[in-house]
Symmetry: C2
Subunit: 147 residues, 2 copies
């Protein structure tokens, strides 16, 4: 049995210095440890890491090739619609590639999707279903079985 | 500027009931909210979600096709080598596809990689570089610039 937690979320990077620059300049993130092969960022209870894509695949023992939708999204929730719009304007001004501009779904809230420079998909959202604590941790989810 | 945190990590699922079964039966995880389209699990400070892959891609506005290495890994760290070996035996006994059996890297620790039933890559690791608090949160990372 495994606890409901993760420790490290790793993205493979074709161009590690460029991906480091993207995450640090677009988001303002600062690494907690790094070398020429891998960079770690302290997140809320886990580490986000960027590692060289081919080395990561070799380490695991899988072919490094891949294309198209990666079937993964990373969501960053905020407490208000205004914050969604502010981040949208800030990221757009930095040249970040927007996939879907701020959209209000029928069940409430506001979100937009964007990409990093190597095609990983991220989302900024205000969700009426997901409470955030004072530190921004997502704690629980309202029932959705009626939707 | 964005805080160093995420709120929701979403995996697209071609067969949502089968993926739900995999995560709940292999790991013992229990959902906090769900419907026929999406399932949420409370993690350490964020939510892990499984959503229908095609619907997720349509929602974002990207083509749903994708193949090969997704360039993402999800790591679950434990506090001892013995726990790595125990989880390896437990997951293998459940028929989980192992990509790399427990391996001790030159810089210490022990890890193995495996896949879920739709090719998302996960890792179980004991790392001498990543301290875990009493709840299993990953807090910081030892310097690696000498490696």
């Amino acid at each position: 049995m495994m606890q409901q937690r993760i420790s490290v979320l790793t993205l493979g990077a074709d161009d590690l210095p460029a991906m480091k620059k993207f995450y640090e300049e677009s988001f303002g993130w600062k690494p907690v440890a790094e070398n020429q092969d891998i960079i770690f960022y302290q997140m809320n209870g886990f580490l986000f890491s960027l590692g060289k894509r081919k080395a990561l695949a070799d380490f695991i023992g899988v072919p490094p090739e891949g294309s198209g939708f990666r079937s993964v999204t990373i969501g960053y929730n905020v407490a208000t619609e205004a914050e969604v719009n502010t981040l949208y304007e800030q990221l757009k001004a930095k040249g970040v590639k927007i996939l879907k501009p701020p959209t209000a779904p029928p069940f409430g809230g506001l979100f937009f999707y964007f990409e990093d420079i190597e095609g990983n998909i991220l989302e900024v959202a205000y969700s009426t279903f997901i409470p955030l604590d004072k530190d921004g941790n997502a704690l629980g989810h309202q029932p959705i079985d009626h939707l």
